[in-house]
Symmetry: C2
Subunit: 536 residues, 2 copies
């Protein structure tokens, strides 16, 4: 049974983008049976389903936080003082409400365990599907009318399924120079190569992308055809923290239309958009302005998704509940054209099947408890929590170092406001590196990470050790001293071994540690980097 | 980074079984960081982890059934009278106990949501890992000392990961002539072909397997090398319901050693071993005999796993909680050698990651609540529930048809006791097909299915329509009349189109429908098949 080739409605024809693997997948074996399955009174002895009577779960329940657990005015909020409560042993209570899922629902259509814990279509629970569809419509306003949403088991699963659906061995995938290592680890064993694209302060550069595609030389790329898939983390880019605005997205989309490129938009940090960093001394306590339609105002304040410009259906958007609810939910969803969605669903049937029913029913119950306005309320406060964390963390650098602001003129950071750190001179200390820029970063406007550049230029060991080894030497010294950063080399889509010199990098996460730990980590960093350069 | 080639301890060298894809997978990026991660007091800013403070789940809980909810003397049990309670509107209450998982555990090592809902190693929760390891040791007693258990997201996921780890495009996988369609749908798009092996009443034939491998002719198989992977569902085989005993397993294992074949043992029905079917008239109510060590006695009564004979570490056993707890848990585990396990874990990291934390924590909480003896108690009763269902269902055939017993002399059923069904003559009716065998089946000794052979031999339309179409014609007539069976052609690993004539098949599940529905379905079957042959 081969995939039946129907034209894609309301869009350009994208069938040629399917991988051989995706084309070879069966049609659903249930397709022929479907017309009878909804027949009233039908006794089905066709499936290998255990009786729900034998599910040892009578009911499932949870105490869930109320949607306004976190304030819209975060400076007044306990979390920024968590170190204080930790020291003094009391924490403010979580305000909760109950959700519960019985084995059998009283009302048709309600979530129950007899359904959620049974085998099911890879599409998952209907109430969850409905919530997601409405959410995508309200928040992203896709330009392509005929889009479909389909749940998956988290964005790592989503990336894996997307690549297997779009790429054959020998293909290349366009990715930023600095990129998410897990995606590289996913695609390379499939025989698919990473094709690095230049970046600037907004992430992937449309100019670099166009130039790469326009000048593509099959021979020079070892026989690789011009790539037809692009992978991007456009908001809070991993690792650089860059946020790609609407204009850049339009430009990149236009290039992708011109060269027939499908876009995989991996967007876990979408709701962690925090706005520009303002140094503590210049920061003004803003009043919470109440808008007439808070939800719409919030949604409009966010950088748009590629979906908003995708009139051809060439975007596969991957969204996850990992950052907005919990990573362990292993639950997220695709938004894409129905032809891709159908192939992705078939792939789900032969691997993950539907995501875990415990997770589906708990996440769905939470969302139905909160409803759309409640979830939006949660997200509005969540991004402010991350904003407060980012601000606090960068403030710590200001305390420990002399930080200078400048505008980057070249390189991956072109056009962005860069913070350059140098050592504060210690009294009576004569130290050559004082006053020199040892590291720099662009305060991220989204996401979880500081992407730090390490200015090894004048380090005398640079010539002998090279950037990668020097970076690991500093990384190890920091780990020995009690703080662990993400080694920058992991995030490079370019082979670092070929790199002679240049800056090192760390990805530093401010998303999880307690505030006092964030503070302490910068103190340790100051002590270690001082010694690292002093020991020259 | 390539997979480092270390020798496999205590076993033959099986590295050459790894697929190119499996070899190309990165080593864990965390490996280098690991030695620091356990450092006391370390502040890690390396991962992209949200703070558990932002998980909107304060606690998770469930009412779970007690382990002795179902009796060890099932004939006295309500479930066999469920149609009675359904009619009269009252059902016996489920006896439950509570489990709950807080966000933060009071005691180190206890399950908590801060861990279960966070990103984690693909290995999953430690208490679940520990339970599984002990369970495998007690129940299967693997011959290979150095085995490893590793969780996965259900056996469909397990099959997919196993095939991707072992097979390259162009390879073949040995499978029974009749086999599980989902596995075929999983492997074929990967460019891996199914190589059918002959069967008898115990499932795959060791003689047929040996002959196929001994006489393998690359040319005759279109250039395919002799297969080095075998896939089997040895207990309650899907669809035939066959159970492979210890002797057959030893024989097949010896063939696999001789020809260097890795065995994928997909064993979802292991605990649904029901024993031989005894006709109602001959059935004797057995007293529950209390043994000194009930757990050991029960375990010893079951057909062993391939693990028990696998002294070389060439078995990958796939086990799932789908049939013993619930399919929606999407949770199961591999048992295999550590080299395969390491590659499978890396594959997990780049696709599913760890299975859903809601599911892991709920299944683990249930198992820890029951403990090993409690879970064994649950399993002992569960198989009796399925035995009661099977017996009831086959009894229904005895009521509706004239059933004759015989020993099959040839074909897939060789050596087994076969039940042949013919129509009971209706008073005053003159019907040529009366007395002729219209269908037959071997009562399954395990699993969920009756695998019915349809005796189309004398059907005059056989010559014109062929088996497949005649089968679908009868299938459709049944669906129209209100009962749905599984169409047999779906389960064939041999191309049915090449099949001129021969019997048709249905796979009929007795696992899920209510007892009154099971009864009614056989009545409908009797009416429809009478008409089907009468309408000749």
């Amino acid at each position: 049974m081969m995939f039946s080739e129907k034209p894609l409605p309301d869009a350009v024809d994208l069938r040629h983008h399917l991988s051989e693997l995706a084309k070879a997948r069966s049609v659903s074996p249930l397709k022929g049976l479907q017309k009878y399955m909804d027949k009233p009174g039908l006794i089905s002895l066709a499936g290998g389903l255990p009786s729900p009577q034998y599910f040892p779960f009578h009911s499932l329940g949870a105490e869930v936080l109320v949607e306004d657990q976190f304030p819209l005015n975060p400076s007044s909020h306990p979390s920024s003082l968590s170190w204080f409560w930790k020291l003094f042993g009391s924490k403010p209570a979580e305000r909760t409400t109950s959700v519960s899922v019985p084995k059998f629902a009283d009302k048709t259509g309600d979530i129950d365990l007899a359904t959620a814990l049974q085998y099911s279509m890879a599409k998952g629970l209907q109430p969850l599907q409905d919530f997601i569809k409405k959410f995508v419509e309200n928040v992203y306003q896709p330009a392509y009318g005929n889009y479909v949403t389909l749940i998956h088991a988290g964005n790592t699963d989503g990336v894996n399924k997307s690549i297997m659906t779009l790429c054959n061995p020998g293909d290349g995938v366009l990715m930023s120079e600095w990129t998410y290592p897990s995606t590289m680890a996913t695609i390379k064993p499939l025989g698919v190569d990473v094709v690095p694209v230049g970046m600037d302060g907004q992430g992937m550069s449309a100019i670099a992308l166009e130039q790469l595609l326009a000048e593509w030389d099959v021979e020079a790329h070892g026989g690789m055809a011009r790539p037809r898939v692009m992978y991007t983390v456009p908001i809070g880019q991993n690792p650089t923290g860059a946020t790609m605005g609407a204009q850049r997205k339009k430009e990149i989309y236009a290039v992708c239309v011109k060269y027939d490129v499908v876009i995989i938009e991996d967007d876990p940090y979408y709701f962690l958009q925090q706005g520009e960093y303002v140094p503590k001394a210049e920061r003004v306590e803003e009043d919470v302005v109440v808008h007439k339609d808070e939800e719409k105002h919030f949604v409009a304040s966010l950088a748009p998704s590629f979906l908003k410009f995708d009139y051809q259906g060439r975007v596969i958007r991957l969204e996850t509940f990992s950052k907005t609810i919990a990573p362990g939910s292993r639950l997220g969803f695709f938004t894409c054209n129905p032809m891709f969605a159908e192939r992705l669903e078939r792939q789900g049937e032969t691997s993950t099947q539907a995501p875990c029913g415990f997770g589906q029913s708990m996440v769905a119950s939470l969302l139905l408890q909160w409803q759309y306005p409640g979830y939006i309320r949660w997200l509005r406060a969540l991004r402010l929590q991350y904003k407060a964390r980012r601000d606090f963390f960068i403030d710590c650098f200001d305390e420990q170092f002399s930080m200078r602001r400048s505008i980057a003129a070249s390189g991956a950071h072109t056009g962005a406001v860069v913070y350059e750190g140098s050592l504060k001179p210690l009294r009576g200390e004569k130290f050559a590196a004082s006053g020199k820029t040892l590291f720099s970063f662009i305060p991220p406007s989204s996401g979880m990470f500081i992407w730090m550049q390490l200015h090894f230029d004048d380090h005398p060991e640079l010539a002998t050790l090279g950037t990668k080894e020097l970076e690991m030497k500093l990384w190890t010294a920091l780990a020995e001293a009690g703080v662990m950063f993400g080694p920058g080399a992991m995030f490079s889509s370019v082979n670092i071994a070929e790199d002679a010199g240049g800056p090192g990098h760390f990805r530093i996460s401010f998303s999880n540690a307690e505030y006092d730990e964030l503070k302490k980590s910068v103190e340790i960093f100051q002590t270690v980097i001082r010694k690292f350069f002093k020991d020259l």
